[in-house]
């Protein structure tokens, strides 16, 4: 690793952000469903 792989780093950070967004949407769907069925 002599030079910083900027594109790779940006891809990594983007995927991590996408994971959090996906988890939020999944949790929101679950919360909505559970409250509806309660």
């Amino acid at each position: 690793m002599r030079r910083l792989d900027l594109r790779g780093a940006a891809r990594g950070l983007f995927i991590e952000a996408v994971v959090v967004v996906a988890l939020t949407l999944a949790a929101l769907g679950l919360a909505f469903l559970v409250l509806l069925l309660r």
């Binding site: 780093a9 990594g12 950070l13 952000a17 959090v20 939020t24 919360a31 309660r38």
Partner: protein, 497 residues
């Protein structure tokens, strides 16, 4: 017959330990600079004393320089175990002198909690602690999360690096040499640091209305605590202090990044294909989904939150905080203590399982959980199939690998040791009269380096329970092996011939 360690053994261990201690002297320059810039003269004295002592120990170790420069495997393990006892002792000096701790053990507890990236704290009145000392607490998170020995081998060229690297609970070697792997780990951390601090500072200024210097102070602390899955905060109300969903989401991205193995970071950076076949990724996704369902359903059934936005925000953040081993809390301790039933089970299991192996997270680790499950399936298949059947199980982790008996045995042994430590700590809590749920929660939180608390960890807690929790944090972070090596070394020294 055990062999008594010779003088050369002590020399080799002392020399390497001294080298590692130099890292504290170097890292102490961070709070020192902050104290000078902020003109915090009172904490400056303690910081200078710590740096001076660390530098003196480091320099004195030159006198022990052994003839053979290479450390043996067992010596390396002993060095790691001792390092993680000595560094908190040095790191606790400025904390203890601040007057924010009731007794010295509390300051040592905080330094150990910082270094092991646990996040439990016995600090009194954190809201009025000098900024430089808060920066130091969070720097301990960063040092511990990165692996302090890893730092030493990067900057001070310590020999016998492989055992030191493994002793700190790191298993995957991304590049052929440990030094290149260490450099990659630092690169990943510094990239996340640069982006994370910039984003958090901007949010602090634009959304929270902080002045730039204050926003920067909070941003670097939150970054170090989130990415290194530590959990300290500079305010007593933890992450809830900021009262911002956007700020929490940014912290969540850093927490997720911290719980990923550095091998996976490398794969993401290199656009590696077929990541969803990876056993560890499958395991962590499954266990996270399971614990999230338990938490959210539990909170909904108990009627704790009645709208889906609040339920999602609290339930997801707390599960993420527990599973990644961070320990940030978006709800007050008293409220968390009331989370019972399914929610309690969900959060406790998430804490106990932890993040990925070779990440900054603690706990049993997803790879071990996945392999334990695969071994159990193997055992059932063995029982069901005819006697002469040959069963060979493979799993995908970077490449296709065979689950050998030896690997399964070692994975099971470490997993069992975690469970035993969870239960052992809970037994001590029970002996002091705490309810079973509280004692178990706090014990798991300490061993798995999480830092969530239901109120057992507080100033004035029984000293023995506090000492047990210090030992749990130490054992959990080192994943037992280095600690056993130290124990073996001491026994050979005392009884060997």
């Amino acid at each position: 017959m055990l062999l008594k360690p010779a003088t050369e053994d002590f020399q080799a261990i002392g020399f390497a330990l001294g080298r590692v201690v130099l890292v504290v002297a170097a890292a102490g320059l961070v709070p020192l600079t902050w104290a000078v810039l902020q003109q915090e003269w009172k904490p400056l004295g303690g910081i200078v004393l710590m740096i001076g002592l660390a530098a003196l120990i480091g320099a004195s170790s030159e006198l022990l320089r052994p003839e053979k420069s290479k450390l043996s495997w067992s010596h390396g393990m002993v060095v790691v175990a001792l390092t993680w006892l000595v560094i908190p002792a040095l790191g606790s000096i400025p904390l203890w002198l601040s007057g924010h701790f009731g007794r010295y053990l509390d300051a040592y507890f905080d330094a150990m909690s910082g270094l092991t990236t646990t996040g439990l704290s016995l600090l009194q009145d954190v809201d009025h602690l000098a900024e430089s000392l808060n920066v130091w607490r969070h720097t301990l998170h960063f040092l511990g999360g990165q692996g302090i020995v890893l730092a030493a081998l990067t900057f001070f060229a310590v020999s016998g690096v492989l055992s030191l690297y493994h002793g700190e609970g790191r298993d995957d070697q991304i590049f052929p040499s440990v030094t290149s792997t260490a450099r990659f780990i630092w690169t990943v951390s510094l990239v996340h640091g640069a982006v994370g601090i910039a984003v958090l500072t901007a949010e602090g200024i634009l959304q929270l209305g902080f002045e730039p210097r204050r926003a920067f102070f909070h941003a670097i602390n939150v970054f170090m605590a989130a990415f290194d899955t530590g959990g300290f905060t500079s305010m007593s109300s933890s992450i809830a202090y900021y009262g911002s969903a956007v700020f929490e989401a940014t912290a969540a991205v850093l927490m997720v990044a911290g719980a990923l193995s550095f091998g996976l970071h490398h794969a993401l950076w290199r656009r590696t294909q077929g990541l969803l076949r990876n056993l560890e990724i499958r395991t962590i996704l499954t266990t996270f989904a399971g614990t999230l369902i338990l938490t959210i359903v539990g909170l909904a059934v108990a009627g704790t939150y009645t709208d889906s936005a609040s339920l999602t925000r609290r339930g997801l953040f707390q599960t993420l905080s527990a599973h990644t081993g961070t320990g940030f809390s978006s709800v007050p301790t008293a409220e968390l203590a009331r989370w019972s039933g399914l929610t309690f089970i969900g959060i406790s299991i998430a804490m106990a399982l932890g993040g990925m192996a070779s990440s900054t997270a603690g706990g049993v680790k997803s790879l071990r959980v996945g392999l334990t499950f695969a071994s159990l399936v193997d055992t059932v298949r063995e029982a069901l199939l005819p006697e002469r059947s040959v069963i060979s199980t493979t799993f995908h982790q970077t490449r296709r690998q065979v689950l050998t008996q030896r690997l399964a045995k070692s994975v099971m042994a470490i997993s069992l040791l975690y469970v035993a430590t969870y239960l052992g700590g809970a037994a001590v809590g029970l002996a002091y009269g705490y309810p079973l749920t509280d004692a178990l929660f706090e014990s798991v939180s300490a061993t798995a380096a999480v830092g969530l608390s239901v109120g057992v960890t507080q100033p004035g807690m029984p000293a023995i329970l506090e000492a047990v929790m210090v030992a749990q944090m130490w054992l959990g972070r080192l994943e037992f092996i280095a600690a056993f090596s130290l124990l073996g070394f001491v026994i050979s020294w005392m009884t060997g011939e």
